[in-house]
């Protein structure tokens, strides 16, 4: 049987991939699931697997070639089997470059617009036509789902009923969903109305922003003392903030939630997305179950994730499925900023730099290390007071670091 090896969508947002290395050569016997090649996606270097068995009869895309998702990069067939006509190597369908520039524009200009975590991987479409059963097409259109964002589990990648159902239930079929228990709450009429009106007035996500200034003296002292202990990783301020935010989210489940169009999903566990700047962009690796991790564990994990992010070695499971985000530009001497929400999450905290400021303490003027936090909230999920109470908890915990072990 002839199996076309297609450039697959190996990350949720991948539109094209660069073929780095072929691990099999023409004439090699391959089995289903064998790794054929390494592909650089928009986020990481990923493995391209064989979807059929036989002989790798032809390599269509040469190493170094950048090809669009869905294009043929090779052919697997039985020895001696007649091969179909193939598109020319390295000649994927042309796409206007203006699209790319336009897409890159806003992202680059926005301080913390992490990649959409929950965009499912497109189905590897052969020749551009999406294969879907008539029922799947009807269901997708009724539910407003984009078929090109669903992966088909039927023969030849056909999208069938169960794929649409799963696609609707879990926004990220190929990526890790947030794990652990959750509760889906049906939308009340007032919540629907709020949602509709705010969207109409403010754009796709109705943001609002809450800023508070936090006294970081005690946190700074705690950090110095912790780092004076010889064992363990160095604790950064960001680690302390991550730890505190995770802890506070447990107390404020209303902020640990996804907006899912027809419902709001409140999570029992905290999976914290942390924005990491990488060359040409940024990405939000996720610290899973952050609320159950010690400060040391968070410090170790955040460092490892940031490193892997910069090496573009993150797997989709490592940067999807977050329930809340933290973005920190303190190291760039930014006093405060507003971050863009990472949908379907409903909130993100933007962390400014810690600076000494004159502050009145018990009537006396003192120099104190202060930091501004700005929380962006999705008003469809989080109302003003809800967000403010959460932020107040964060502030109190940071001002009394003992709360971390509380």
């Amino acid at each position: 049987m002839v199996t076309k090896v297609l450039m697959e969508a190996l990350s949720p947002t991948m539109e094209e991939g660069k073929l780095l290395t072929w691990l099999k050569k023409e004439g090699d016997q391959v089995s289903n699931g064998d790794v054929l090649a390494e592909v650089e996606t928009d986020k990481a270097v990923m493995e391209l697997q064989a979807r059929g068995a036989g002989v790798l009869r032809r390599i269509v895309a040469a190493e170094g070639a950048t090809v669009e998702v869905g294009s043929v990069v090779g052919i697997i067939a039985d020895a001696g089997e007649e091969l179909p006509d193939l598109p020319q190597a390295g000649a994927p369908r042309a796409r206007p470059t203006a699209d790319k520039a336009a897409a890159a524009g806003p992202a680059a200009a926005t301080p913390a617009a992490p990649p959409p975590a929950a965009a499912p991987a497109p189905a590897p479409a052969g020749g551009g036509r999406i294969k879907a059963s008539p029922l799947a097409r009807r269901m997708a259109s009724e539910r407003g789902l984009d078929l090109s964002r669903l992966a088909g589990s039927g023969p030849g990648g056909r999208i069938v009923k169960r794929d649409v159902e799963e696609g609707a239930a879990a926004p990220a079929p190929t990526a890790a969903a947030a794990t652990g228990g959750f509760e889906d709450v049906e939308l009340s009429q007032i919540r629907k109305t709020i949602a509709r009106r705010l969207v109409a007035s403010l754009g796709p996500i109705p943001h609002f922003f809450l800023t508070t200034e936090v006294d970081m003296e005690r946190a700074a002292i705690a950090r110095e003392e912790l780092n004076a202990l010889e064992a363990g990783p160095r604790i950064s301020f960001n680690d302390i903030i991550l730890k505190v935010v995770a802890q506070a989210l447990v107390q404020h489940r209303a902020c640990n939630a996804w907006w899912m169009d027809d419902r709001i999903r409140y999570f029992d566990d905290v999976h914290l997305s942390m924005a990491v700047a990488v060359e040409d962009g940024l990405i939000t690796p996720v610290i899973r179950n952050a609320h159950r991790k010690s400060l040391r564990e968070i410090a170790t994990e955040s460092r490892a994730l940031a490193e892997r992010a910069r090496e573009r070695r993150l797997t989709p499971e490592e940067y999807t499925g977050g329930t809340f985000s933290v973005s920190n530009l303190g190291m760039f001497d930014i006093d405060q900023f507003t971050a863009v929400i990472n949908p379907p999450e409903a909130g993100i905290i933007a962390v400014g730099s810690i600076v000494e400021r004159p502050v009145l303490v018990d009537g006396e003027l003192e120099a104190r290390r202060r930091m501004r936090l700005t929380m962006s909230c999705d008003h469809r999920v989080i109302d003003g007071a809800t967000g403010a109470q959460f932020l107040q908890t964060v502030k109190r915990m940071l001002e009394n670091p003992l709360a971390m072990v509380w």
Partner: protein, 327 residues
């Protein structure tokens, strides 16, 4: 409710209709003195006499033609073919005379005739005597084609067929005659053209008729047990007119369909059902409709080969696995 055989259910239908209407008579090979090759006409000669239960020579074209003539002048003949394989000799009377008479006379001549007998394969009757001809007759405008699977349906449909003013091809089954089922004592009839849900289900529709109903039911049991797949078994009962509404309703519920029939695949009954489904229920389909048919060969005499050539629950389950994407 009494439980009787399919054979006796047909016998009851004949007896009741002959009692009800003196114009009804039965004619065929061995229907009288021998009481029927399959004993469907047991006791009828004694009850109704030689004028209404008529033994014929072995001459299908002849007695089918006599039946057509009798219907033309107002009687209600029931013509028994010992099997539908022998009725090939009489097909000119069925297709060219019975099916056309009302049309070619501008409705002046009615054709209240029933042609009945067992169709399909029994056991090791070989290539010439194991054929299912539903699709042959269903192809002809002017004929109604009925193929009941249960004693209840056999009785109710035969009574309706005898009362119908159009020619009805009534297909029974040698392997069905001994099957038993509930048949009420009080009189009832079943309208022609109505399918019947023999088992409700939500995951796949098994369209079947006649002997394949039992196959579909067995497959449905195993599907529920082994694969947790809930199959709806839809018995067509009537091939023409075809109950498209019932087929579409079921497929809209289950989104998947497998058609099970004894006949050959090419231009078979299932081909017509597929055509209706793709047109009327296109947006309900989650998978191509598959068919389980008799294999596309003359029926082998060899027992193992014969078994392999017939539809069976394993073949149905394999098809269901494909339409439900379980493979």
């Amino acid at each position: 409710m009494p439980i009787i055989t399919y054979r006796d259910a047909l016998n009851e239908a004949l007896r009741e209709e002959m009692e009800r209407d003196p114009d009804v008579f039965l004619m065929g090979e061995e229907v009288g003195v021998y009481q029927g090759a399959y004993k469907v006409s047991r006791g009828l000669l004694e009850a109704f006499g030689e004028r209404r239960v008529i033994d014929t020579p072995i001459a299908e074209l002849g007695f089918a033609g006599v039946g057509v003539g009798a219907a033309m002048v107002g009687l209600r003949p029931v013509i028994e073919f010992m099997t539908w394989n022998f009725a090939l000799l009489a097909i000119d009377q069925v297709v060219n005379s019975a099916a056309k008479m009302s049309y070619m006379s501008g409705g002046q001549i009615r054709m209240p005739i029933v042609f009945r007998g067992p169709g399909g394969a029994a056991l090791q009757l070989a290539a010439q005597h194991s054929q299912a001809f539903e699709s042959w007759y269903a192809h002809i405008p002017g004929l109604k084609v009925v193929a009941p699977a249960t004693p209840y349906d056999a009785k109710g449909l035969l009574k309706t067929a005898i009362r119908d003013n159009n020619p009805v091809v009534f297909l029974e089954g040698e392997m069905l005659y001994n099957t038993k089922g509930e048949v009420p004592e009080e009189e009832y009839t079943i309208p022609i053209g109505h399918a019947d849900v023999k088992r409700e289900g939500g995951d796949v529709t098994l369209v079947c008729h006649s002997k394949t109903v039992a196959i579909a039911l067995k497959a449905a049991d195993r599907l529920a047990e082994e694969l947790q797949v809930s199959a709806e078994v839809l018995d067509l009962r009537s091939i023409r007119p075809l109950d498209v509404e019932a087929i579409v309703a079921s497929v809209e519920k289950t989104n998947r369909c497998v058609i099970v029939e004894e006949g050959w695949p090419f231009c078979g009954v299932g081909a017509q059902v597929v055509d209706e489904i793709q047109r009327e229920a296109f947006d309900a389909l989650d998978a191509p409709v598959l068919r389980v048919t008799g294999e596309d060969v003359p029926m082998p005499y060899n027992k193992n080969l014969e078994r392999a050539a017939k539809p069976n629950p394993d073949k149905v389950i394999a098809a269901v696995r494909r339409v439900a994407y379980l493979d």
